[in-house]
Subunit: 327 residues, 2 copies
């Protein structure tokens, strides 16, 4: 059984814990808005990672479920607020929270999810010193996520965005939460300081790989496989690594043609596909897959702190999955 | 020297700590939006309360400054998000965050403030067990605040709102944070469990009194004294205790006239004043001041857990100030 099917039972437990954690909400409008994304499913990669790391350093995987659920709740809260900021009406085939319940509800339910995440993290079976560590990890992560989201907003109006800018933004906006999942798992599993640092770095690297692969899928997948509309990043003018790289390499009429479609909200399918082909021909998509593969290889090197071969393989498979997935 | 002038030095320290706590933010757009309200000043009532309670149970007042600042940051984050939800362009004479920086920035800077509040609370000089308590107090408070804000939103479309509904909403939306300030102060000052519970209840009661008095000021103050436009609650159709009470008592043409102005966004000053007079004549404003006074008296009874007479008087003065203030 390949990843992630082998974790089906664990994902089920995570989902049960996650949905149960919203039972405490009294107001039914608030609760419905809060549950909208969590109930719509998801791969639960961040909670899974926390449980796998907890196990890898000698702890119980289940011990990391509350912290993992807290990460998932935070991830969902950022999706709710990001959708309002981006004015997106759909997310992975369902109506966004604000499109369904209104902007005030979306802002408020995001805030309530965020608050709830901290309560849920405190539900972890850990001593007070470790609970303080977990809270610190979560709070710091969201602060950095906000810095990343702000960079992303700033990019929209930036004249030039370099590869380094892009990597910094993805580090903050995506990698921080994967790193937090791994670090928190190491804290809960009571790994050594060396293990914690190495696994946090592993998490950071696979988080970067995850995002770059996501940008690739937007260009190379099809809507049915990907589960969401493709070529959306071009339409939205997103400065992904692929686009940034292509803009460094492209010259003349191809560059002009690409720029004329990038960020064109009403671009026709044909224009989007032509822009995609320009990126493909410039080798920018291949380049991105190589960067992602390199990050995953680098991440796996850090796994030497995990002695048990089964657990090491689990983390290695997890890393590979992030840049092989089709969805 | 009357309250709150005697705490001038302490407020200065709170402000310094508060503003310094935002230094860590790297992105200057994000930082500017986050600092917009904290830099605009404020009475810092919640942090002050935390320091006074800490002292009253035998701790140092300064020890509660980080936790107090965390409460103030949370209070400010809710103002930023509430202003987006209410589409208000001004707050106490300054442009709101979203009016100044845009809606995405307002949502994001609110989230970042919220995250930062937890980091700041962890900066408290307390052992890990108490830090966990403080985090729990903050997280629970924001969850309940969200329930209160949702009730407030629900009220707008509700056919009838009772006094009990209103008190429940204010309890969640306002009293919870005053209660948290007092409870956190008791934890930091290492008060007994009995002191903590009694002072949390004192905080809850004065928080209710504070809000009811705020509703009174909106009707009886003038813009220059109050520091913000008056009669705004009528224009916005807010179901305050005063309005709820009046609607239970008013009949016939006065009721019709009042209802025709309540929530009328483009109401003329004369109409608003006439609506205010109807409330005044119905005795609803007097009734609210009596309820507020009763809550403050009740709160002060709970202060018997404070043995030192100076500290007891400080908390008694604090409670009185909340329903005597003109601004």
């Amino acid at each position: 059984m390949a990843f992630p099917e082998e974790y089906k039972d664990r994902v089920k437990k995570i989902n049960e814990y996650l949905m149960r954690s919203l039972d405490i909400i009294e107001n039914k409008n608030l609760k419905a808005a809060m549950a909208h994304y969590p109930a719509a499913g998801g791969k639960r990669l961040r909670p899974l990672l926390a449980t796998i790391v907890s196990e890898a350093v000698g702890g119980k995987p289940e011990a990391a479920i509350p912290f993992g659920a807290a990460l998932e709740i935070i991830h969902n809260f950022t999706l709710v607020h990001d959708d309002v900021m981006d004015e997106d009406d759909t997310r992975r085939g369902i109506r966004t929270v604000h499109a369904t319940y209104g902007i005030p509800e979306a802002i408020l339910s995001g805030d309530a999810l965020f608050a709830r995440a901290f309560e849920v993290a405190l539900d972890s079976d850990a001593d007070d010193t470790d609970l303080v560590r977990l809270v610190d990890i979560l709070a710091r992560s969201v602060r950095l996520l906000a810095e990343g989201q702000q960079m992303d907003i700033d990019f929209e109006n930036a004249k030039t965005v370099t590869s380094a800018d892009y990597m910094k933004m993805v580090e903050l906006k995506t990698a921080v939460l994967y790193s937090a999942a791994a670090r928190g798992g190491a804290v809960i599993g009571r790994g050594t300081d060396v293990q914690e640092e190495a696994l946090a770095e592993y998490g950071r690297l696979i988080g970067l790989g995850f995002q770059i692969w996501d940008d690739v899928l937007d260009l190379r997948s099809d809507q049915q496989t990907f589960g969401k509309p493709v070529l959306n990043d071009i339409r939205n003018g997103k400065k992904t690594l692929i686009v940034v790289q292509a803009l460094e390499d492209l010259h003349g009429p191809e560059r002009e043609e690409f720029l004329s479609v990038l960020g064109k909200k009403n671009a026709k399918q044909q224009e989007l596909e032509r822009a995609r082909d320009i990126l493909e021909n410039a080798g920018a998509i291949d380049h991105a897959t190589k960067v992602a593969d390199g990050l995953i290889a680098e991440a796996k090197k850090g796994l030497k702190v995990v002695k048990n071969q089964t657990h090491k393989k689990a983390l290695s498979d997890f890393a590979d999955y992030l840049v092989k997935r089709k969805t």
